[in-house]
Symmetry: C2
Subunit: 210 residues, 2 copies
């Protein structure tokens, strides 16, 4: 067997039972090899550069530096390594922070073992494996609100504002008067109950009106 072509996997997880369980599972799967297992980021930091893993399975609730905060550090030392979050947490904020910090996938711990192995494969192929609920949350974060109080024109103008254009420029591009743009903006502000551009953009984004 060509061990050189095996996918090298490192695991950072504080619960020894879980850690060794995953290590056993992956280490005994053809085509995969465990190159390191660590109970914390601090421990991992000492050796992981030498391990040079292709994929890291990373827990979020770790003693010391959290998995979320470890992510950018790991990406810095190993820019080409794919990092898969493996956790019990399904809070939106945590998920988005993990993805924002460079996670290549996000799995919950109820994921069946064979799915974990296939997720590792998938991430090596350029995919982005996610548990079903995670994928759902991620997808719904894109969904617009179709019950917007804004009219078509108002939405259009607010979108222009959100791209940073001045009122003058918006007026020019829509072939309407500056005063008209001001009127629309006034109405938008009333409807959204805000008093500034930034407030309006935030309110509209939060409510997915734009």
């Amino acid at each position: 067997m060509k061990r050189d072509l095996d996918i090298k996997v490192a695991i950072i997880e504080d619960d020894e039972t879980i850690r060794e369980g995953y290590a056993f599972l992956i280490g005994n799967t053809t085509g995969y090899k465990i190159c390191g297992t660590y109970p914390s980021y601090e421990e991992a930091a000492k050796h992981i550069a030498q391990d040079d893993p292709d994929v890291i399975l990373l827990d979020v609730e770790l003693p010391g530096i959290s998995g979320i905060d470890a992510l950018p550090k790991l990406k810095k030392t190993l820019p080409d390594t794919h990092i898969l979050i493996l956790t019990v947490y399904e809070q939106e904020l945590l998920i988005f922070r993990a993805l924002g910090n460079g996670a290549a996938g996000y799995l919950t711990k109820n994921t069946p073992p064979e799915k974990i192995v296939s997720a590792i494969h998938e991430v090596m192929e350029g995919g982005g494996p996610m548990s079903a609920n995670i994928a759902r949350m991620v997808i719904s974060s894109f969904k617009r609100n179709d019950a917007s109080p804004l009219t078509r024109r108002e939405t259009e103008i607010l979108e222009q504002i959100a791209t940073g254009k001045s009122r003058k420029r918006i007026a020019d591009e829509l072939y309407i008067d500056l005063e008209t743009v001001k009127s629309h903006i006034k109405n938008i502000y009333h409807k959204l109950d805000v008093h500034s551009k930034a407030d309006a953009i935030k309110a509209a984004r939060d409510n997915k009106f734009i």
Copy 2:
């Protein structure tokens, strides 16, 4: 067999071969039932409310109204129906527009048949099935840029601005002077080469600095 408990699937796809292929595949899978197949949104609109599908497989490149534009209309008549996009297109803009318009999942046409069936099941369970590349694009849309030219404080202030707070309020909350906030903003503008709040927020968002 209790046909009442079958998952009802409708297909909107202009290519007859593909359409009938999917219909055959799904119709012959236990637990699934085809309740309608249509070559366009216009055709579907006439009967789909009566079909009352649980899941719609929707193509994006359709004669007449496109799949993307059909999405909100379908969601309006069938608010509880899950809509899966099934297409050859993998352009980011299209994907995000589809998800923004209420798609529950996004599959490419090279998806193997058994995966399509499992995606239908997954979407019924509250998941968000996506092809690997799609998931990757979606995930990387969240990733922050770690090579930001902004300092920690500048990033912090810009984030506050992006939430719509006035300079005065930012100053109060950070326990610094209004003039200091103005100085930071000035520096942010220089670094990003912009001349307004909205421009800065847009530039920072586009480059994933915040």
